[in-house]
Structure formats: C-alpha cells, structure tokens
C-alpha cells in the first residue's frame, strides 16, 4: 500500500508538467540578445500575507543565529531579485539591448516535513514575469513560471538541504533565461546560499 501511495504521489507531482506558460513571447530577433539591467520582485495579492509571514519568520530565526546579513535572511523580494540577477547575468548578452525584469510572486510553499516523510510533498515558487524595455516601457515578453520540486521520505528531506528559497529562485531564474533564449550554462541552477554568505 505504501509503495502504491509513493508511486501515485510521484506520478502526481512529477511527470509532464509545464513549468512555463507563455503569454507574450519575445520577438525572435531579440531571442538571446537582451542585457538584463534590473530585476524587481513583488508579491501578488494571492500570496502577500503568507510570504510576508515567512519573511518575518526567516528574519527572526536569522537574528537569533546572528547571521542577519546573509542572503538567506533577507525578505524573498530582495533575495529572489539578487539570485535572479546573478543567474541571468551569467547567461545574458553584453549588448545595448537592455531589459528590466518584473516578477510578481503568486506562491511560495515549503514542504510539510510530516507529509514528506509519510508520502511526499513539494516546494513551490510561482509567479508572473514581465520583460520591459527600460527606455520605451514596451512590454517585450510576458510569461508565467511555476517551479515545483518534490521531496519524499527521510532521505528526500535530507537531500533537500537548506537554502530552499534560493534554490527555487535560481531555478525560476533559469526558466526566465530559457524563455529569453539565453544559452544554457551548466550548474547555475545549483545555487548554494552558503557560498554567498
């Protein structure tokens, strides 16, 4: 029975999920040519209260541990903007074709450890992305990104490790880069917040 439930949840959570839904694709001639100038993150009405509560909890825990200067202790809007900028800077172009990225986060959800141990659960970061020309304010591209990472069992929890928010942000940024036609660079998604402290 447990094996059936594990298989069911694996099929449910993984599989053929589309991590990006395109609302307005970037013009073909601009694919791979943009130079990302800034990244701004905000919270949508769907999630603002929940995410701000998470931010407050993270800040309190960081202050207790005495590492309130680390990226992992910053509010999501700051840490995600920083991580996204770093990931995209490694992949974008050095042209004068500048663009600003605006992310509105709809959901940040962490694994429930009990559910993860018994069956499995997911970390999730989702939101809409707008790519804007900073000079003309023209909307160059718009799409929706949903990052879902499953975790199952004690081993899964152990492997999941820390810096989950930053890892989700890094994966989110990778999907942005993919949608903008940037070349893939290996290992940029394995963002480790510890190495940035």
């Amino acid at each position: 029975m447990r094996l059936f439930l594990l298989l069911f949840s694996a099929l449910t959570i993984s599989g053929c999920v589309q991590h990006t839904k395109m609302l307005k694709p970037l013009a073909e001639k601009q694919q791979g040519t943009l130079n990302i100038q800034s990244v701004t993150v905000s919270y949508s009405d769907l999630s603002a209260e929940t995410i701000m509560a998470i931010d407050e909890k993270i800040k309190t825990e960081a202050e207790k541990k005495g590492n309130s200067d680390s990226i992992a202790s910053q509010p999501l809007k700051s840490s995600m903007a920083k991580v996204t900028k770093e990931v995209l800077e490694a992949r974008d172009s050095d042209t004068n074709d500048f663009a600003n990225i605006y992310i509105e986060v709809d959901n940040l959800k962490f694994v429930d450890p009990m559910a993860a141990i018994l069956i499995s659960d997911t970390d999730q970061l989702s939101g809409s992305v707008k790519v804007v020309d900073p000079k003309t304010k023209e909307l160059l591209s718009e799409f929706y990104v949903d990052v879902l990472k499953g975790t199952g069992g004690l081993l899964g929890l152990a492997v999941r490790g820390g810096g989950v928010r930053e890892k989700l942000s890094a994966q989110f940024a990778e999907y942005i880069g993919d949608n903008l036609g940037f070349e893939k660079i290996e290992n940029t998604a394995t963002y480790n917040s510890a190495s940035k402290e």
Binding site: M1, L5, F8, S9, T12, I13, V17, Q18, H19, K21, L23, D45, L46, S47, T50, D106, N107, K109, D112, A115, L118, I119, D121, Q124, S126, S128, Y144, D146, L148
Partner: protein, 181 residues
C-alpha cells in the same frame, strides 16, 4: 490513519491532475441572466463587433488545475447584454447606430495555487480591449481588466473565478456604453 493520508493525497492529485472541460458561459448562466434582466433598455441603437479572441479558451497558468480547460464565450455574453440595452432590443451593424462597440481583443487567464494539502485559491482574469465609436465618428479606446478570486478544494474555484471576472468585465463595458445615453 490510512484515511487521513488517502484523503489529502487524493485531493492533491485531483488538484494537480484532474482533467475536465468547462464552458464558462454555462457556468455563469444564472449570474448572467440576473445581470441581463437588470439592464433597462436605453435610448441607444447599438452595433456590436467582436473578434474570435473573445471566445478562445482561457489560458491556465501554473501547474495546479492545468489539465482543466475553460471555454470562454464572451461574444455571446456581450451580444445578450447589449441586446437588452439596445433601444429596439436588437443589435444592428449599420452606420445608423448611435454607438458602435468594437471588442477587438481579449485575453482570459486563470491560475490556482495550493495553500495547503486540502485547499487552494484560484484567480481568474479577463481582459477586453477595443473602442466605442459614436455616431459622429469619434472613437474612444477602452481596455478593461477584471480579476476575481475564489477558494477551491478541487479546482472548482477556477471556473468560479473566471465566470465572475468575465461577468465583471462585461458589466464594465456595458457601463461605458450606457454613458452614451
């Protein structure tokens, strides 16, 4: 204990993977009928022009409830409302119209997020843009965006939020046209 696991797991699976197709106009039938009945005929002869984008399937953003399909029929909704508003109770596409409504583009999206293993929230958004043209030929563009959210257990909130958002968007357009009265 077994039931405590199976029920939320089934709901989670249903939330993500369940697949059904919904006609938003049919879902919204009762609310639309009430809105249409509440409209008093105006002194305006109204002409209406719509595009295919008003009847496209809503785009389901995100992964949750992504297997569901939501068919929009905004052009029919607009037809019904403006027919009720029209002086003679019938729309005509002639230059004799006091106001011509051109609903040229539309985009409908819905997204659902999981709040817990047994509940979530969905937000539907409907955009309609175009122009109204007076008898004297003066065109005024309009761009309407309406959002609505609804709590959900197994994706029911998605069609509810889309239905409400489309109802609200059409109501706004009706108000714009009523201002020509």
């Amino acid at each position: 204990m077994y039931n405590l696991l199976v029920i939320p797991l089934t709901v989670v699976g249903a939330f993500i993977l369940s697949a059904c197709a919904y006609d938003i106009k049919a879902e919204n039938k009762a609310a639309t009928a009430i809105e249409t009945q509440a409209i008093t005929a105006s002194n305006l002869n109204i002409a209406l022009e719509t595009s295919d984008t008003l009847d496209q399937e809503a785009m389901n953003l995100g992964i949750a409830c992504s297997a569901h399909k939501y068919k929009m029929r905004l052009s029919e909704d607009l037809n019904e409302r403006f027919t009720a508003l029209d002086k003679d109770g019938s729309l005509n596409n002639t230059s004799a119209a006091d106001v011509k409504v051109v609903a040229s583009t539309s985009r409908s999206t819905v997204k659902c997020i999981q709040k817990s293993s047994v509940s979530g929230i969905c937000e539907g958004e409907v955009q309609i843009s175009g122009k109204t043209v007076s008898k004297s030929g003066i065109a005024k563009p309009f761009a309407i965006t309406k959002k609505s959210s609804a709590s959900t257990v197994s994706c029911g909130g998605a069609k509810k939020s889309l239905a409400q958002a489309s109802n609200d968007a059409i109501s706004d357009l009706v108000e714009i046209v009523q201002s020509y009265n």
